[in-house]
């Protein structure tokens, strides 16, 4: 009996590995032209809310941005607006050329967002 249990324990990882299946394809959500359109749209939607959340907290006074930080966020906001415009062009007309432009714009947004400064800490 003990031998059987030990065998089961040893084989468990193999059994689990055998259960692995291919990652399910996410169904296309309503309104998107295709999977790429959806993916780019999701990323931009999140980036926009990240910006507006910082913006609203700054307006409420719960987060104080220095002039440098504010400039960085506003530069990010300008780039975000441009990327959204390019994305919407692709969304309405999903051609290969528009796709390249949209991917480049969204990748640029991700890079800029990752490089945003943290607000300066008052010491």
């Amino acid at each position: 009996m003990k031998r059987k249990i030990a065998l089961l324990i040893l084989c468990a990882p193999l059994l689990l590995a055998g259960c692995k299946t291919a990652a399910p394809t996410q169904p296309l959500a309503p309104g998107y032209a295709n999977a790429t359109d959806q993916q780019l749209g999701e990323i931009l939607a999140a980036s926009r809310v990240f910006y507006t959340s910082i913006q609203s907290q700054s307006a409420a006074g719960t987060m104080t941005l220095t002039a440098t930080e504010k400039q960085a966020f506003n530069t990010f906001g300008v780039a975000l607006n441009a990327a959204e415009s390019v994305y919407l062009t692709y969304h309405l007309n999903p051609t290969a050329a528009n796709l390249t432009a949209a991917q480049t714009a969204v990748n640029g947004i991700q890079t800029q967002q990752a490089a945003l400064p943290l607000p300066t800490v008052t010491k």
Partner: protein, 131 residues
């Protein structure tokens, strides 16, 4: 799908995050140097978390499915900042700044998930400058 593989360096974000360390050290009497026996290794902790996040950021746009990577990035940022926020004796201003970023990352995560339910043109309205 695969987007154009353009790695997204996170040096700016993390470089600024590390600027928080002196304030945290002063406020919480936390040793950030390995030279202090028994001191809490906050610096190694941050280094570890940074190493965990950077590959995720750099993987964006290079994987067939980036959904999990995007969510992992926001979740990890939330985790890192939440850990920092729980540091004893943090100055109120420091805590406010950290909390602000946590809130923004949480809201971004929610927006990302919400966008998965369908296209909403309101998600792409132009933003206004921060006054």
């Amino acid at each position: 799908m695969s987007t154009t593989p353009t790695p997204a360096p996170a040096t700016g974000f993390w470089a600024e995050l590390k600027l928080l360390l002196p304030a945290i050290e002063m406020a919480g009497n936390i040793a950030v140097t390995l030279l202090v026996p028994g001191g809490v290794g906050l610096a190694p902790l941050l280094t570890g978390l940074e190493n965990a996040v950077n590959p995720l950021l750099q993987s964006i746009g290079t994987q067939e499915s980036v959904s999990s990577e995007i969510l992992n990035v926001y979740a990890t940022i939330i985790g890192v900042l939440t850990t920092l926020a729980q540091t004893p004796g943090l100055p109120a201003a420091t805590l406010a700044e950290i909390t602000g970023y946590i809130t923004a990352a949480q809201n971004a995560t929610a927006a990302y998930i919400q966008a998965q339910s369908g296209f909403n043109p309101a998600n792409y309205l132009p933003v206004t400058p921060i006054a």
